[in-house]
């Protein structure tokens, strides 16, 4: 049975480097020298999915996308 992996992606056009995503989800995201998010991994482990969704809601530009992937 294939596990459902949760994907995470940043819309680079919408992003304005607020950095809330990296503050709320430091295990998956950090910021580069100009404040823009760097994803460590394209998927999120299950125990962090809820926190990832919180980070996506916190983004003022809704640039963080958390998607379930079969």
């Amino acid at each position: 049975m294939k596990a459902v992996r949760t994907r995470i992606a940043v819309d680079p056009v919408a992003c304005e480097a607020y950095g809330y995503c990296a503050e709320l989800l430091p295990e998956v995201l950090s910021v580069d020298e100009w404040g823009y998010p760097v994803l460590h991994d394209k998927t999120v482990p299950d125990h962090l999915v809820e926190q990832a969704r919180r980070a996506a809601r916190a983004c003022p530009r809704r640039a963080l996308h958390v998607m379930a992937q079969g």
Binding site: A9, D11, P12, V13, A14, C15, E16, A17, D32, E33, W34, G35, Y36, V38, H65
Partner: protein, 458 residues
């Protein structure tokens, strides 16, 4: 606006070509087909530039005389017929991505709705001149291809996109008017002038502009979803790709495959520039040796390295001149076929200085939408300038991490192109990079640039 300094109007005498290319014909077998060479048997007609040089070759009359009437699909199932022909020929896109064209057609067909056919002749790459040449010399081949695809998809609209600074618009409008006068088509042809910036030719940027938005690429997390102009799915093809479709429909997939390589069939237009005596656009059989293609243009000061693919492509060293010009073989030596761009760097030049100029240009050509590109590319250009000036020993290491920082972090492939260009430069010119880092810049960094357009201007 960038315009290539490539001179495509200069006629080349058959004698020159025969001398330069006779060795390649004998050796590679696949051969380099060049305008002006003595005519060979019938499938020579089935080439893009086969009517080059003949007086009035761009007119509809000359086109129909040379190639015959346009074979329209019979009955229903036109899309399936055309798709099958394209599949059998193995045609891959000539806009830079080399994506299988039959698959693109099928994807738009399955999207339903009333599609729009977009002819992408934007050619934002300053070192490329092939689409401009093709539209000037054989616009009806391009429009034939667009018509075949439009009829197959039952599209109501064909939009030819040209850059606003280009003299090609007139040629396209004239050709479209000739066709409109000669026969009725079930679609309308529009000619759209879009801003002639580098990223404006990216297919999602073209579609964005045609939808009334800015000429900026879109973020496409799901590449499978078709591009749309409003609700209409858009089939965006490079102008040269459509010209090949027109030839395949007339002469069949076998004639297409008669030239080229099993992995990369057919011919392609290549723009050769740089330190060469005869810069220009060549129609090349895929699989010809890189050295033979470059040789046809006549390098003036030896070949130090060749920029392949374009400003977002890669450098290959002179040792790679024996490589077969196909996407696969070129990739093995770190090269890129891309949009058929080759810029020859002479033996006595500083590849790092030229790379720095390209990086500076590319930084200025960012759409300005994505932070890593807006801030990262100028930083990469600064680091390259430092490296070239040999003022900062840390520049090379900083550059490597900066380049990793921009790669893949934009909405489009613009920063990715710069990243791979710089990586290839640091590899191909490793000795130079080392010397520069130690504070001993090479003697050629002040040499005039061989790059086309405003990039190379002092």
């Amino acid at each position: 606006m960038p315009t290539a300094t490539v001179d495509t109007t200069r006629a080349v005498t058959p004698g020159e070509i025969a001398d330069a290319c006779s060795t390649s014909d004998a050796r590679s077998g696949a051969g380099v087909r060049h305008e002006g060479a003595p005519p060979r048997p019938d499938h020579d007609r089935a080439r893009l530039l086969s009517c080059w040089g003949a007086h009035g070759s761009g007119t509809l009359h000359a086109h129909l005389e040379h190639h015959g009437p346009l074979p329209l699909p019979r009955g229903h199932g036109g899309a399936a017929q055309l798709g099958a022909l394209m599949e059998a020929s193995g045609l891959a896109g000539r806009g830079g991505a080399s994506f299988p064209s039959a698959r693109k057609l099928a994807a738009v067909r399955s999207a339903g709705g009333s599609p729009t056919v977009v002819v992408n002749a934007m050619e934002g790459e300053p070192a490329a001149d092939k689409d401009r040449t093709l539209l000037w010399c054989a616009p009806h081949l391009v429009l034939d291809g667009a018509e075949l695809v439009a009829r197959a998809l039952r599209a109501r609209r064909v939009v030819v996109c040209v850059p606003d600074d280009s003299d090609v618009r007139h040629a396209v409008v004239t050709a479209a008017a000739e066709r409109a006068a000669a026969w009725r088509a079930p679609f309308v042809i529009e000619v759209a002038t879009l801003p002639g910036r580098y990223v404006a030719g990216e297919e999602s940027a073209v579609v964005s502009r045609l939808s009334g938005g800015p000429s900026a690429p879109a973020w496409r997390p799901d590449k499978g979803a078709p591009l749309r102009i409003g609700r209409s799915p858009a089939l965006v093809h490079n102008a040269e790709t459509l010209a090949h479709v027109a030839l395949i429909a007339r002469y069949g997939p076998e004639a297409f495959r008669a030239a080229g390589h099993p992995d990369a069939p057919g011919t392609a237009l290549v723009t050769v520039s740089g330190a060469v005596a005869r810069p220009g656009v060549l129609e090349v059989a895929m699989g010809a040796l890189l050295g033979d293609i470059v040789g046809c243009a006549g390098p003036v000061d030896g070949v130090g390295a060749v920029l392949t693919g374009g400003f977002g492509g890669t450098w290959v060293p002179a040792t790679a001149l024996g490589t077969s010009y196909t996407p696969g073989s070129m990739a093995e030596v770190g090269g890129v076929v891309g949009a058929g761009v080759l810029v020859v760097l002479p033996g006595r030049a500083c590849g790092l200085a030229e790379t720095a100029r390209i990086a500076r240009y590319m930084a200025g050509e960012s759409a300005g939408q994505c932070g890593p590109c807006v801030f990262g590319l100028p930083a990469v250009a600064d680091d390259l300038d430092d490296l070239v000036a040999a003022t900062s020993p840390a520049a090379a290491t900083r550059l490597a991490s900066r380049v990793a920082g921009v790669d893949g972090r934009g909405a489009c492939r613009h920063p990715d192109g710069v990243a791979r260009l710089v990586r290839s430069a640091l590899w191909v010119f490793a000795d130079d990079a080392d010397a520069h880092a130690r504070g001993r810049p090479c003697p050629h960094r002040g040499a005039p640039s061989v790059l086309p357009g405003p990039v190379g201007a002092p």
